[in-house]
């Protein structure tokens, strides 16, 4: 497991606001990491630190062992591709011209630009003015510029915000391809459900603190999030079924023939056995393991309670 970049006990303050509080996180080579959190959780600040745009107040930031805000900054940036959260390129330029400009800045050959535009699917619009591009096309152009010079570390800040579902899927497919090509990818997002199939690791941020980080399996283990069981039962048999269930199973929703339960993982089997005992009255059963979204809500909820601002 090679660490490509890492934040070590990093603290960053803006005046009285602590944007990052003692955050340590490695980015592992060839893996995709999701950086998850609400707006203002500190995601963009982490990315800015990695790009050397700001310096930490405490702790260290390293990209391949180099301080990105130090002497080797230019060299570090040549190996990073970055897509900012919201970017409005100059509308008077064409996609082709913009790519040529960024390629020159990066010292990369411009002849590969056409291929990059092809890869993100906007080669047909390369010679059109950017003012005529749709939001999705501009985002694709943003990704294309991040790919200039074949960077081995890619930082995508909210790559799918404001995109339609088809464009979102395309963006994630591009991320998949990059990862299978050996690149290390960091995606910041607040749509955890969207990325959980696409990433190897996740880091959950809230209010400048890192609440949890690790592979998805590790994260699920670390927090005993409850399993959701949805039952379809015969009319008027809900009370019968409820009476059979062990006390650990909480009923959170009931209607005429449907019942939704939340069960702690250790009581899952006991509950399922109880349901089996109910016999034919239970017509259907749907079991959902805790997803990252539940995990995220759970962690953020706990953090908020700790801060005394529980909802």
């Amino acid at each position: 497991m090679t660490v490509v970049a890492e934040w070590r006990a990093v603290t960053k303050r803006y005046g009285a606001v602590t944007a990052l509080d003692h955050v340590s996180l490695p980015l592992v080579a060839g893996e995709a990491t999701a950086l998850v959190g609400h707006n203002g959780a500190g995601k963009t600040t982490l990315i800015k630190l990695l790009l050397g745009l700001i310096r930490p107040d405490a702790g260290t930031v390293r990209v391949r062992g180099t301080d990105p805000a130090g002497r080797g900054a230019a060299q570090v940036r040549r190996t990073i591709g970055f897509l900012p959260e919201s970017v409005a390129f100059h509308g008077a330029m064409t996609g082709h011209e913009l790519m040529a400009f960024y390629a020159r800045l990066k010292g990369a050959p411009s002849r590969l630009n056409a291929e990059l535009l092809e890869r993100v699917g906007i080669a047909h619009a390369a010679h059109r003015r950017l003012a005529t591009y749709s939001k999705g096309m501009r985002q694709r152009l943003g990704i294309a510029q991040a790919l200039i010079g074949e960077p081995q570390l890619l930082l995508f800040d909210e790559p799918t915000s404001g995109l339609d579902p088809a464009s979102r899927r395309d963006v994630y497919e591009m991320v998949d391809r990059l990862r299978s090509g050996g690149a290390t990818v960091l995606i910041s997002t607040h749509a955890l459900a969207e990325v959980q199939q696409r990433v190897d690791r996740a880091a959950i941020m809230h209010g400048g603190r890192l609440l949890a980080a690790g592979t998805l399996a590790e994260l699920r283990q670390g927090v005993a999030a409850e399993v959701r069981i949805r039952l379809q039962v015969r009319t008027c048999s809900i009370t019968t079924v409820l009476a059979l269930l062990p006390p650990q199973a909480r009923c959170i929703e009931r209607s005429g023939t449907q019942l939704t339960l939340l069960v702690a993982p250790e009581a899952k089997m006991a509950t399922l056995r109880a349901i089996a005992q109910a016999g034919e009255v239970v017509e259907d059963l749907d079991l959902a393991a805790p997803g990252l979204q539940e995990l995220y809500s759970h962690l953020v909820g706990a953090a908020q309670e700790e801060e005394g601002e529980a909802p």
Partner: protein, 274 residues
């Protein structure tokens, strides 16, 4: 190398959004109308038509060039910041000073092309009609050069304003304020002070120093006094000693008016948090 990449991009944007074209046309139109209409009376007094044009064109430049320079430059950093491209630009292997200096360089090129083509067309028109002396031609060349330097100075000041503020509107307001101060208010205020002072405290050398503190005055002094062919028409040639300072001093001071604001802009931008 990256400096020139940034500068070239600035020029390309200027060509694309027709800044280059508009400024060139504007400056050519004004210079030509001054040259062709303003030099009409010179036929009688046998004055060099180009020397007369230098005087009137220099007076116009003092109003126009700083305004164009500020309009070109006030947006350079804060505009990129608002569009979200500043962070992206700085994520590339380009140093912050290269961004500030490169953009300024590009804007000076835009202004320089407009000035040389615009004013050059007036000089060419007069040349074709004949009667243009070498001395007046030299003075004209000096005027074009100092016009570009004056422009560069206000490009640097505008760039400094752009790095200081967080919003485009504030930068625009600041640019207007800078223009009003240097172009209109400074001389009026200075005149008021001189009248009130009645020569008790402020002598000739103090006045010279005060004039050097405004780039537009440096420009005016250079162009009105530097050439004998011109100073006759500018009303600056008199029995006294009109040019207390030699021409190279004016050029050096004007160059300082380019470099100091530029250095300040770089220093401010390097500290600017993103």
């Amino acid at each position: 190398m990256r400096l020139f990449t940034v500068a070239a991009q600035e020029v390309r944007v200027g060509l694309r959004n027709r800044w280059v074209l508009a400024t060139t046309v504007l400056m050519a139109a004004l210079a030509l109308s001054l040259a062709l209409l303003g030099s009409a009376p010179t036929g009688v007094v046998k004055a060099d038509p180009l020397a007369v044009v230098v005087v009137s064109l220099a007076s116009l430049t003092i109003f126009l060039v700083p305004l164009i320079a500020l309009l070109l430059s006030f947006d350079s950093i804060v505009g990129e910041h608002e569009r979200g491209t500043l962070m992206l630009l700085l994520a590339y292997p380009v140093a912050r000073w290269q961004v500030v200096v490169g953009k300024g360089l590009g804007q000076v090129v835009i202004l320089g092309v407009a000035t040389v083509l615009g004013y050059g067309s007036a000089a060419a028109a007069l040349w074709l009609r004949g009667g243009v002396g070498t001395q007046a031609l030299q003075a004209f060349g000096g005027m074009v050069l100092t016009s570009v330097m004056l422009g560069a100075s206000f490009v640097a000041i505008g760039g400094l304003a752009s790095t200081l503020v967080r919003e485009r509107a504030t930068a625009a307001g600041l640019a207007v304020g800078v223009w009003l101060f240097f172009v209109l208010l400074y001389d009026t205020a200075l005149l008021g002070v001189l009248v009130a002072d009645q020569g008790r405290v402020l002598g000739k050398s103090e006045l010279d120093a005060l004039l050097l503190l405004n780039p537009t005055d440096v420009y005016r002094l250079f162009n009105m006094t530097a050439s004998e062919a011109v100073s006759v028409y500018s009303g600056m040639a008199g029995p006294g000693d009109p040019a207390a300072l030699p021409a190279p001093v004016f050029l050096a001071v004007l160059a300082a008016w380019v470099l100091v604001p530029l250095a300040l802009a770089v220093a401010v931008f390097r500290r600017r948090p993103l």
